[in-house]
Symmetry: C2
């Protein structure tokens, strides 16, 4: 099955599917729950340090909470590996704990397992009185993205070139938890860019039943990307390269001025009636399928 | 590293380790969180149906919540597999959803991943105003176990013999959530038997700083085990065979009579000052290490 078919199947079966995380009403608030499976062959280029493996394994789930505007309460990490060698386990735990701390939460538990391939599954629990969904974008809203794009694609090139320290630094992205919390009162829809900007735009448009018109010159490109990716490949890397884990969101235009200035974001386009277009042309829904 | 060394390492790093699940104070109650990784080679004998794979993948985490006396709020399931063939994915989801429903909870989300080997990681979130720990057993308490023992070992023999339907039925154990909730007001310590009765006794004794004296004739042996396991191997299977996922707990003797009669349990011994003994002899701490 293709991942999209499995997701369709799961959506039939699981009511809460269709957002970055599941929402569970609890007392006078909501618990927000997410889980992510990563493994060496697909998710960690050769040369990724154990610390960054642990950091990133946790960061992907915290990013899902960020996209819901949820405050993290705790993280679990399951770790499978053939050898569970102490340097590896220590490094992964160290990175995972540090990433949790960077968003004000803690690693509260886990599991280990002998496994043919290094496999990490993080699960995060958060809280949000009013979680931000993918489905609230309205025609006329502004389309925005936090931070800048292309860091992960630049990191992959640095790993391939053997510049491991620089690659690790770019690859250990900061989950935008704080920004997600500050955006939550204003954002009409939100998603994290885990599979390319283009694919994330299509998911958000589909869930909200709207379209987007993106102005490509407004896309925030990271210095790492402009320096590390050949000019001819930059557009492809930014739009379809995936895994930047920035927040893509929509807001009413009048809200742009009141978003707290500590949130670094760019307006990149407008919400339209239908179709995902960039610079006036249809933007294909091609992204990174895990 | 041996699993016990990793656990020691994790315990240094994670404050909440040392119980079946992590406890996170939240509002006027506690969230209880657990995660478990299973994979085909170690955890699912040849012939296990997709339904039972999904059921069991979720049941192990619900059993952890049961051992804390927690009420489940929701379950997440991450699924990795080389092919993600629709019959397999459908069967696993069906079993996972049914197992959740059997304890009054729901599968709220998940993740899928292409993976070399079938790998399942369930994470469960529960709630317990007063979670039951492993560390509260007191000298003079009675040692008890729910249900009966040896079903999993009997199931493994049935899988090996090709009697797959009968094996599946035994292997899809019922997580003792309802019993855990009813025991919580009385139990001074509790753990689920996921690694053999002997190993679970040692863990509970160690955490509580006590010993146990077990009376072997009092051990509740399942009909499936007496019928399916040769008499000469039965003691080994019951004490060290592992994975029965019954609840092992201690209670003050005066509480035995007031535990609700809907909880099926047996008194199997007494809490002593030190040492884990059965029929007067030291019981070795050998069990199933995953």
């Amino acid at each position: 099955m293709r991942e999209s078919e499995i997701i369709a199947l799961i959506r039939e079966r699981i009511a809460a599917a269709g957002d970055d995380a599941a929402v569970l009403p609890f007392r006078d608030t909501n618990l927000v729950l997410t889980t992510d499976m990563l493994h060496r062959r697909t998710d960690f280029p050769a040369g990724t340090s154990p610390y960054v493996i642990g950091w990133r394994a946790v960061a992907v789930s915290l990013s899902d909470l960020a996209a819901m505007g949820a405050r993290p309460l705790g993280v679990l990490l399951a770790l499978g590996d053939p050898d569970l060698e102490s340097g590896l386990v220590n490094g992964i735990l160290h990175g995972a704990i540090a990433c949790c701390a960077s968003t004000g939460t803690t690693l509260v538990g886990g599991d280990t397992d002998r496994h043919q391939e290094l496999t990490l599954v993080s699960s995060a629990v958060g809280e949000a009185a009013r979680p931000v969904r993918r489905r609230g974008a309205r025609v006329g809203d502004a389309v925005c993205v936090t931070g800048d794009l292309g860091r992960t694609q630049a990191a992959l090139r640095l790993y391939a070139a053997g510049d491991l320290a620089a690659a690790d630094e770019l690859f250990a992205f900061s989950p935008r938890v704080e920004w997600g919390l500050r955006l939550a009162p204003y954002a009409t829809s939100m998603i994290d860019i885990s599979d390319g900007l283009a694919h994330s735009l299509h998911l958000l448009a589909q869930e909200s039943g709207v379209g987007f018109e993106i102005d490509e010159p407004l896309l925030p490109v990271s210095t790492a990307a402009t320096q590390g990716i050949p000019r001819a490949e930059l557009r492809e890397a930014i739009l379809f390269g995936g895994e930047d884990y920035e927040l893509l969101f929509t807001v009413p235009k009048e809200a742009i001025a009141v978003i707290p200035p500590t949130v670094r974001f760019s307006v990149i386009g407008n919400v339209t009636e239908a179709g995902v277009r960039a610079n006036g042309h249809a933007l294909p829904d091609t992204g990174y399928e895990h």
